[in-house]
């Protein structure tokens, strides 16, 4: 076989291999498309975290019907805010990362606020 034939043969073979690989293999965990599938939210607005007890970091999806500035705050079990982030969210799904190394283990509440009002809330255990 000529060199050019081999080059095209193996190139086509490689793409066929890629086409056959499953979308959710572990080494593609942070692929945004995959996460959107995992954290799909049927409603027009919502908050979904990849797991309700997490270590180190996890992804979450905030789906909003109105783009704009939102606040994510994390409250400890006594209701005191331990962290707060200002988010500029687009319409629809917003896949983000939640980091937990700087947060003590425990039970927490995550609130999504707009204009000071809670629009979404969920519980979370950090281990």
């Amino acid at each position: 076989m000529s060199y050019n034939f081999q080059k095209w043969y193996y190139t086509i073979l490689f793409f066929l291999f890629l086409a056959c690989v499953k979308d959710d293999v572990e080494w593609m965990t942070y692929d945004p498309l995959t996460i959107q599938t995992q954290l799909n939210i049927d409603d027009t607005d919502g908050l979904k975290i990849n797991g309700n007890s997490i270590t180190n970091r996890s992804n979450f999806n905030i789906k909003v019907s109105t783009a704009g500035n939102y606040t994510l705050e994390v409250l400890d079990i006594s209701g005191i805010a331990v962290t707060r982030e200002t988010l500029d969210l687009k319409h629809g799904n917003n896949i983000l990362t939640f980091y937990t190394k700087a947060i003590e283990d425990g039970d927490y509440t995550i609130n999504i606020k707009r204009d000071g009002q809670i629009i979404q809330s969920t519980k979370l255990i950090i281990l």
Binding site: V74, A81, T83, L96, I103, E104
Partner: protein
């Protein structure tokens, strides 16, 4: 263990004399020997003879050794004792079978051995005549007891081994009383009517006191605690899983404290771990002695845990603000302290350099600790535990009475020191007849506003030099509830940096604030802090590991201005948001009156 502790405990108290036996013959007679055996005291059979105390009842056994082998069926022994030293409170004949026993007593006599015979030669002392020496003579201090057993059965019963058990109660409280040879075997007669010759045999060739003839007692005159003790600690924020307790005693001659017991089972010591209610039980087996000073000390299992608790929650910027206010009001007068630090424990907590004065050295040291420049416990004036005691400068114990009644005047002017802060002296009632509870106070050095130390519950105006009438003080007169104030905090991505922004609440005039944050150092590199708090505020910030400690205090009697703080981090990787990367785990603040504020961000 108990004996070891007792030995250490009594070394400074014991005289060099001790209880002892006076030998009879130096060798056995080869026929019939009589001797003593100590059997403990009635309340404790295993009590060491050197631990016999006044009032105990000794169990003394008279034993015989029939070496000749002719079955002894008659024995008569005279024993004298000093009635000022002992009284006989019980006699039991120990020969088996059904012997005929008889006892009689002659009071007011003492035996003076016959000079013609050895003192230990009990038979010849018995059969001797007045022409051979002295014999019995009148003596009002002595008593003669005559003990006699005759075996009358045909069962082959012999007098051998244990013959008598005599119980002597220890008398006399005169510390100079001489107990030398105060119990003594004086004479004896032993016979056998069933020997191999079929005729009566008298052990005349040798009925000896061997090896012991007389007894000298040196009673332990210490008064021991007969009850158990429950040690009760009044303190907040002590975790019994993290705290252990030591009990010490003072050897005055050496001016050194030694350990009685501690809670460390790894070394075989009895556990003294406080329970959830900070109660620790100490049984009476530790032989605590009246007249000895005792003190307790707390030990933290983990330096890391203690540092976190102490640095983060207990000693904070509002403590510094309160001390500085006391200094700034009108100089270092005691009226100032009266208004700002009404309780003596506050002054003791504020005296962080342990010189029994309150001055700017204390405020500097305290501020340096808050700012993370210097740890208060790194230079210890007291170190009884080879440096293993991480809190020795910061955790103080106090006798509860001292705690409740002592005044700042006592502390600063009269120099009536309460040796708290390391060892907490405790007062034990040695007259107690049932278990007693001893309460002590634990407070934290540097906790000037008593946020985590107990407030005296007693009459704090007691004693003559009172500079701290309770009625003159408002904030701590009862339950002091800090005001809640609310600021703002948020993180965001800005121009590729992660920025945390704080806005202090300025509607309440604030003289000091402190915030501790933790950040994810696997994602972020700390870059800088920008504090906009006005020109007269002294700010500080430092990073240790993934913890950022920042704050400010106004030393010019004016409030903090603007109150905007920005903390900037550089991400180590591409990130799309900052949720959870920076968290607040402690805040503290003080108003212009140096009252603690609950700062929420």
């Amino acid at each position: 263990m108990k004996k070891l502790l007792t030995l250490f405990l009594l070394l400074p108290l014991l005289s060099f004399s001790q209880s002892s036996w006076t030998n009879g013959s130096t060798t056995s007679s080869g026929e019939f020997d009589i001797t003593w055996e100590y059997g403990g005291v009635t309340t404790e059979w295993e009590r060491d003879i050197d631990k016999v105390v006044l009032g105990d009842t000794l169990i003394m056994k008279l034993k015989v050794d029939n070496i000749k082998g002719y079955p002894a069926d008659y024995l008569h022994v005279d024993i004298e004792h000093n009635k000022n030293a002992f009284s006989v409170v019980g006699v039991t004949y120990l020969t088996g079978g059904s012997p005929t026993n008889s006892t009689f007593t002659q009071t007011g006599y003492k035996f003076n051995p016959l000079s013609a015979h050895d003192t230990h030669d009990l038979y010849n002392q018995w059969f001797g005549t007045t022409g051979e020496g002295e014999g019995y003579g009148s003596n009002p201090d002595w008593v003669i007891n005559h003990y006699q057993t005759q075996v009358v059965d045909t069962l082959g019963t012999e007098i051998d081994g244990d013959f008598l058990e005599i119980k002597y109660k220890v008398l006399n409280t005169d510390p100079t009383f001489d107990y030398t040879n105060s119990i003594n075997i004086t004479m004896a007669l032993a016979q056998s009517n069933n020997n191999t010759t079929g005729q009566q045999y008298t052990f005349s060739a040798g009925t000896y006191a061997y090896p012991y003839q007389a007894f000298t007692l040196d009673p332990d005159r210490n008064v021991y605690l007969s009850t158990g003790i429950t040690l009760k600690s009044t303190v907040t924020d002590l975790n019994p899983n993290e705290v252990k307790l030591y009990l010490y005693y003072l050897v005055e001659e050496e001016n050194t404290w030694y350990q009685v017991a501690r809670s460390n089972s790894a070394y075989g010591y009895d556990p003294l771990v406080p329970d959830d209610n900070m109660l620790t039980y100490l049984s009476n087996e530790y032989d605590l002695v009246e007249g000895v000073d005792y003190a307790i000390i707390y030990h933290w299992n983990s330096q890391t845990d203690y540092e976190l608790m102490y640095d983060t929650y207990i000693v904070t910027i509002s403590d510094v603000a309160l001390l500085l206010k006391a200094f700034n009001e009108s100089g270092l007068t005691h009226d100032t302290f009266n208004n700002n630090l009404p309780y003596a424990i506050q002054a003791m907590n504020a005296d962080v350099n342990w010189d029994f004065k309150l001055d700017t050295k204390d405020s500097y040291k305290l501020l340096a600790h808050i700012m993370g420049v210097e740890k208060m416990w790194e230079a210890a004036p007291y170190n009884y535990t080879n440096g293993n005691n991480w809190y020795y400068q910061s955790l103080g114990g106090y006798d509860v009475d001292d705690f409740n009644t002592m005044t700042i005047g006592d502390y600063l002017i009269n120099n009536n020191r309460v040796e708290g802060g390391h060892l907490a002296p405790i007062t034990i009632d040695f007259t107690a007849t049932s278990d007693q509870q001893i309460e002590h106070i634990v407070a934290f050095k540097g906790d000037i506003n008593l946020s985590h130390s107990p407030t005296p519950s007693g009459n704090v105006t007691a004693k003559s030099n009172s500079y701290m009438a309770k009625s003159a003080f408002d904030p701590f007169g009862g339950v002091y509830t800090p005001e809640n104030v609310y600021g703002q905090f948020g993180t965001e991505l800005r121009d590729g940096k992660v920025v945390a922004t704080m806005r202090l609440p300025l509607e309440t005039d604030m003289s000091a604030f402190q915030v501790k944050l933790r950040f994810d150092d696997t994602i972020l590199d700390f870059e800088s802090v920008q504090l906009d708090t006005g020109n007269t505020t002294t700010n500080f910030s430092n990073v240790k590991g993934n913890v950022l400690n920042l704050g400010g205090i106004n030393l010019e009697k004016s409030n903090i201005q603007n109150g905007v703080i920005e903390i900037i981090f550089t991400p180590k990787e591409n990130i799309t948001n900052t949720a959870g990367l920076i968290t607040i785990f402690h805040t503290d603040a003080a108003d212009m009156d140096a009252r603690k504020l609950n700062l929420y961000l």
